[in-house]
Symmetry: C2
Subunit: 147 residues, 2 copies
């Protein structure tokens, strides 16, 4: 995914953050990787271009970006946190074979769920958002055969 540095700078300023080189690099990295990376994967990716970015800075920056709404955390059941640079509403496909987390968009599905819960609701709970986790495995290309 091609991401323009100027867009990144604008995005940072829009939420009232200083556009430091580190923040630009980190935000750009997540958008380019586009793969729900861990802090460590981000660090590794960044170090190829800018070896002088500190670990603490990456974590601090990620927290800042999440607080400012420029990033989202992705829920996992493994040890370390993952980050998502795609802000619009979407769901996730968790592949049990390759471990990847892929994005899934479906307006029909969202409409179906909205209809369902606007009628029914949930007792003692006010719904603000619904996210679906699909568990399974990818079937593209080399993995077409069954186990």
């Amino acid at each position: 995914m091609k991401v323009d540095t100027n867009d990144i700078i604008q995005e940072l300023r829009r939420v009232g953050l200083r556009a430091t080189p580190q923040r630009c690099t980190i935000l750009q990295a997540i958008k380019q990787l586009n793969n729900h990376p861990t802090a460590d994967e981000i660090l590794e990716y960044i170090h190829k271009k800018q070896p002088n970015v500190a670990v603490g800075t990456v974590y601090n920056t990620l927290d800042t970006l999440v607080s400012s709404g420029l990033l989202k955390r992705v829920k996992t059941d493994s040890g370390s946190m993952r980050y998502d640079g795609i802000l619009h509403h979407h769901h996730h496909l968790y592949c049990s074979r390759c471990g990847k987390i892929m994005d899934y968009n479906d307006a029909d599905l969202d409409e179906l769920l909205n209809d369902f819960f606007s009628k029914k609701g949930i007792q003692n709970f006010s719904i603000q958002g619904i996210r679906l986790d699909f568990h399974g495995h990818c079937t593209s290309k080399q993995q077409t055969e069954k186990s």
Copy 2:
């Protein structure tokens, strides 16, 4: 939730595990707590009755129980892992105010989703299970918890 120790022992044996006192206590604790506890919360709860259970044992046992299918991990976007002793299919309500994770069962919803995806499917992905995360907050004054 009342949980019979003999049932726990049977459950452990059924999957081919030795029914050690530690494993019984840990599995029973999770089922009694019924609150998606962290390893630390489990340890604290257990220590009231059996102070001689080691931290390492709790983690090892939790891993073992998950591998054997007697427990599930719960996805979170916070630092530490949570565990679920309820094995049948269900969804989770994440309360942004009290931080609790509650269970949600809905056969109509599951049927709706099954219908939707059995017709449609997802390109390049074989669905094995769908879990919904509801984000929002609880609206009950006091909860008559029961499941």
